[in-house]
């Protein structure tokens, strides 16, 4: 046990109507620990979760702050509904910080027990500022009202070892382990900008720590830079009404109704209980949406080797503890038990691998040309235990592989690594190098934006080609959906506030297959409603999956099945039942928009968040290379004829590629105009004072940022 360097006592605040009313502030530079009041103003304007995070972060930083500035904060908050146990998906924590990849606020949501246990320990939010001199860990004892900061040099770095050791250390006995949750990263976060945070939950049936990830944007890198090895919370006594709900019977009623839907319908719909989010791998491949070999194509005949059936039948254990918070009957958190590791420092050991989620199988599989489930699971394990965001790692490595394939970089420049598509051994070796901070691993984890610069300036690569094939916007790597044929999704990714993650909008089927949103205005409406609605989950502490990965049997009868109106009503009812407020579904969108527009202004304040920052690489919009065009020649030729009235018979391949590009880039410009209008932004993407006033967000500090830009 390390030396305790700070011991702080507090009286845990009682939760009233979903809020404890207190937030915890720790400054690592001078070991200052303070309590702050959650004001009525904060609840009114920011609701909770990401809203609280962004508000605190705004006041902590200046436009000059970068990810490693001492004043940068990691802020987390679970939201007023977080921790209820009667509905599915009620334990999500939202984290925000200034990202090393993007230099603007990143937000990342995560399951696991830490957030709800933190709230039951008396804290609606937690700000971590400053930098420690020595490696430390922070322990919060929510039952006894105690916070200890302890030196932590001696603990292991990698997540699966560290979390297990700390869980055992702080639990009194085996039964007590479920009351401990650990947040940590791993050795990969030290040497990359894509370090992520693991949030643990103890699985009493498997007797191991399981993990969910706050993956995007380099939060693990920041935690490591602050020299925090782990955060630990312990709270014993989780029970159904710790949130002091105003109307518990409504929550119970809505919960029972939802659990019955899961029981009756999940096996007929998405099979989330059986396979989790990876259920869609084959569907994505069949609909040309599975990103393959750096998003060059949308599927591959070999995808069948990583189909859900393969994982279900050969790798995943069924019927165990697979909810990442109490009460989640959707239970999508799958894992492979007793998995034998074959490479790296843990070769020869058997471990539990959390996953694979869809993003893992798609990103570390198809997008790297790896169609080997065993290799994917091993990559998954190492990303998790090293604390590396597998989405950024996968998309970035796919970019490196294509640069190599196209002769833009050489094997020698990669320190001898043969990073061809499909070479899973080289991918694993790259991960180990990142973890050790050696060889090509010293730069490979810096993210595509920085690699483009290095490859051009130091290796002589072609800047235009790298711009076209590097799948990043604002510095963040794309998540794993091919989307060349969905203009709405192109906008959903590139106009997303933090960077191209699909948690703001996933419109591919609505747009590309169902053709429900044919005009620019239709697409703009969808790119207003869905990002606003989806933002709300992160304000209140909920998981999005139970909203639309299962729908009521009669959902098809509704006017707008994609919105799943009955589940939206469930959320309105639960919000009112916990908080005692009286919102309706329009007010729900308003709550979200306040935070959404605040985050956009925050990005503007940090130097991004304008039109110039919302452009995608051309690979997102259309075929960059001849092979890509030829792979769907029939479709592209048809579009030349029907959309542009050109005769492809009279054009050579390069002319056809150029004409397609002109058309698609113009379509994207028109989409931006329509979306900006719908969101109440100027042509340059700046929220207008009128819009801010209309939603009650014309705060002086926001107006001060936008006025010079108008």
């Amino acid at each position: 046990m390390g030396t305790i360097i700070k011991d702080y006592s507090y009286t845990p605040a009682k939760i009233k109507r979903g809020y404890s009313g207190k937030s915890l502030y720790i400054n690592l530079s001078d070991l200052r620990i303070e309590q702050k009041e959650i004001t009525e103003f904060m609840k009114e304007k920011f609701t909770g979760g990401k809203g609280f995070d962004l508000w605190y972060l705004w006041h902590a930083v200046t436009p000059e702050t970068r990810w490693d500035s001492p004043e940068n904060e990691i802020v987390m908050s679970v939201g007023p509904l977080g921790g209820i146990t009667q509905y599915a998906g009620t334990g999500k924590t939202l984290l925000c910080s200034i990202s090393p990849l993007t230099d603007i606020p990143i937000d990342s949501n995560v399951g696991g027990y830490f957030g709800p246990l933190l709230k039951f320990s008396g804290w609606d939010a937690f700000e971590l500022q400053g930098k420690s001199e020595k490696e430390i860990l922070i322990f919060i004892d929510g039952n006894n009202g105690r916070i200890q900061i302890e030196e932590a040099e001696e603990y292991p770095e990698d997540t699966h070892l560290l979390a297990e050791e700390l869980t055992k250390k702080y639990a009194e006995n085996e039964d007590d382990m479920v009351n401990v949750s650990v947040v940590c990263s791993g050795s990969g976060a030290k040497h990359s900008y894509m370090g992520m945070l693991n949030f643990s939950f103890y699985d009493p049936r498997r007797k191991v720590c399981r993990f969910k990830q706050a993956a995007r944007g380099g939060l693990g890198t920041i935690l490591h830079d602050k020299k925090v090895k782990a955060l630990v919370v312990k709270y014993r006594g989780v029970k159904p009404n710790l949130n002091d709900a105003a109307d518990i019977s409504t929550i119970n009623k809505v919960g029972v109704k939802y659990h019955k839907e899961v029981h009756d319908l999940d096996h007929k719909q998405n099979k989330m209980r059986q396979i989790g989010t990876a259920n869609t791998i084959m569907i994505m491949s069949q609909y040309d949406l599975l990103p393959t070999r750096n998003f060059q194509t949308g599927g591959d005949p070999e995808a069948v080797k990583i189909s859900p059936e393969v994982f279900i039948n050969e790798w995943l254990t069924q019927g165990l503890h697979d909810g990442c918070w109490y009460g989640c009957t959707m239970s999508c958190a799958k894992c492979a038990d007793h998995f034998l590791i074959t490479t790296g420092p843990y070769a020869g050991q058997r471990v539990t691998v959390d996953g694979p989620e869809y993003e893992c199988a798609a990103g570390l599989g198809a997008n790297l040309g790896v169609f080997d489930p065993q290799a994917i699971l091993e990559e998954n394990f190492y990303c998790d235990t090293y604390g590396i965001d597998l989405i950024s790692f996968a998309t970035c490595t796919a970019f490196i592989m294509e640069c190599y394939q196209r002769g833009q970089i050489t094997r020698e420049q990669m320190g001898g690594l043969d990073l061809r598509f499909g070479n899973s051994q080289a991918v694993l070796e790259l991960m180990h190098q990142i973890s050790r901070g050696e060889g090509f691993g010293r730069i490979a984890g810096l993210g595509i934006r920085k690699l483009k610069k290095i490859f051009v300036e130091e290796f002589g690569a072609d800047p235009k080609l790298l711009q076209d094939i590097g799948m990043e916007v604002k510095g963040l790597e794309y998540s794993e959906y091919a989307h060349k044929e969905s203009l709405a999704q192109q906008g959903g990714f590139a106009m997303a506030t933090k960077g191209p993650q699909h948690d703001e909008a996933w419109l591919i089927f609505m747009d590309m297959v169902n053709k429900q949103i044919p005009t620019f205005e239709d697409k703009a409406n969808a790119l207003y409603y869905f990002p606003m609605f989806r933002t709300w989950f992160g304000l209140v502490g909920l998981c999005k999956l139970p909203w639309n990965d299962l729908v009521p049997a009669d959902n098809y009868k509704t006017d707008s099945p994609a919105k799943v109106p009955e589940h939206v009503q469930n959320y309105v009812d639960i919000f009112n039942a916990v908080t005692g407020k009286h919102i309706d579904k329009e007010e729900l969108i308003l709550q979200s928009e306040r935070v959404y527009q605040f985050q956009r202004v925050f990005s503007v304040r940090m130097g991004k968040g304008e039109r110039k920052d919302d452009y995608p690489p051309y690979r997102s919009l259309g075929p960059v290379s001849r092979e890509e065009y030829l792979s769907r020649q029939e479709l592209y030729d048809k579009q030349l004829r029907e959309l542009q009235k050109l005769d492809p018979e009279t054009m050579d391949l390069d002319e056809k590629i150029a004409a397609t590009r002109r058309y698609r880039e113009d379509q994207y410009e028109q989409l931006m105009d329509a979306v900006y209008r719908r969101r109440g932004w100027t042509e340059n993407g700046i929220p207008t004072p009128e819009r801010l006033k209309a939603i009650g967000m014309d705060l002086p500090e926001l107006l001060e940022v936008i006025e010079p830009k108008l």
Partner: protein
């Protein structure tokens, strides 16, 4: 000719909803089919005959995680 999700699609005599879904490779399980506005349940996919000129809607219900 019929319309499928607002776009022209060639019709042939004897075409059932199932044939259409197979031809279009609409393999996603979680869909809603309407023909001229009328809901077609999954049990009827094999026997529901699509007529020339019909307006078919095949809504895929997935909005991503």
């Amino acid at each position: 000719m019929i319309k499928v999700n607002t776009e022209d699609y060639p019709w042939h005599p004897g075409m059932t909803v199932r044939n259409l879904l197979d031809e279009k490779q609409f393999t996603f399980r979680h869909i809603i089919v309407r023909v001229n506005g009328e809901f077609v349940s999954e049990e009827d996919y094999d026997k529901w005959l699509i007529q020339d000129g019909d307006d078919v809607l095949v809504l895929h219900l997935m909005a991503g995680g």
